[in-house]
Symmetry: C2
DNA sequence: AACAGTAATTAGAATTATTCCAATTACAAG
DNA sequence: CTTGTAATTGGAATAATTCTAATTACTGTT
């Protein structure tokens, strides 16, 4: 059976987390570790509820409110992105590189799509004078091929 | 004072609407007319609630459920786009040309940004093999200049 | 170690946007 | 005028998220 540390944060991630929290005057806690770790361990853009059930394996008494709190904290610290699609539950993504999302209509799964910096710049040039975008969000909708073995993401990066 | 027809649909729009409804086996009704008309009359991406209050001026007994129903019908018929931003209330847009949205953080207002077909094609090329997007959604977030007189949209098109 | 001050966590209530439901009303065709 | 179907309605129900008012856990001091 899996040890208590099967989802422990890799040293680098742990440092990233503690640093970001410190910079924001926040404490490193077991729950924040676990939740960030669970996002890194399985990058399938889970909802808060899904994170809740995953993390309960290691911290059976954690509350859903705490999961929401921690996820919001991670987003505030810039370690995690909140991903929305229509009015569905918000999903969470620890991929820090600039990327778009592909939403598979058939499966509901979300895949990361690398978004080169120059493309982002090109897109911002579409804006009329007087409109300054500090960020943009790009979502594709469609079907992915998905043979027998399904990959979890289109690209792998952090 | 404004006549009962101050927001009557222009003939062209009326035809567009009745056509689309017919093609979907749906009836043309006063409420659908009014709601589509109100979207065309003021293209500021209103929420269902906002449409509700606007349309009550001409149909004081209309219900919010009907507004939701009609908006959904218009979306299904391809006459209107639903626009989402984070978890905010869905907004509705009758601009049928391919376009992106600019969300002004300061005012909360949403502006249309023309999205040339070739840019759309270029973006779809970012997808790895096996990923077929039938649509994409592009949102900018930032600040618009906004001098004293505020324009309602960055571009004007239907 | 006890204390004080603050931050994190918690269970459950509250909120919000939206959808559902069951009952009425409006049409359209025969 | 019937009869069948679609549209509308008010109110209840839902779902995700946020809020609240404790409790608990830390972090530094005495
Ligand atoms: Mn271990
Ligand atoms: Mn008239
Ligand atoms: Zn992602
Ligand atoms: Zn628009």
């Amino acid at each position: 059976m899996a040890s208590k540390h099967s989802h422990a944060l890799p040293r680098a991630a742990k440092e990233l987390l503690d640093d970001a929290l410190a910079r924001h005057g926040l404490r490193g806690t077991r729950h924040r570790d676990l939740i960030f770790g669970s996002l890194l361990a399985r990058r399938d853009h889970p909802t808060a509820e899904e994170v809740f059930v995953r993390v309960k394996a290691m911290a059976p008494t954690i509350s859903l409110a705490t999961v929401y709190n921690c996820l919001e904290t991670l987003v505030q610290c810039g370690l995690v992105r909140a991903v929305n699609h229509e009015r569905d539950a918000t999903r969470y993504c620890p991929n820090l590189s600039e990327h778009a999302h592909f939403h598979d209509r058939r499966t509901g799964r979300i895949y990361d799509v690398d978004l080169p910096e120059d493309v982002v710049e090109r897109l911002k040039e579409l804006l009329p004078k007087g409109y300054e975008a500090d960020s943009l969000e790009l979502n594709f909708h469609g079907r992915s091929a998905m043979e027998k073995g399904r990959a979890e993401k289109a690209t792998a990066s952090t």
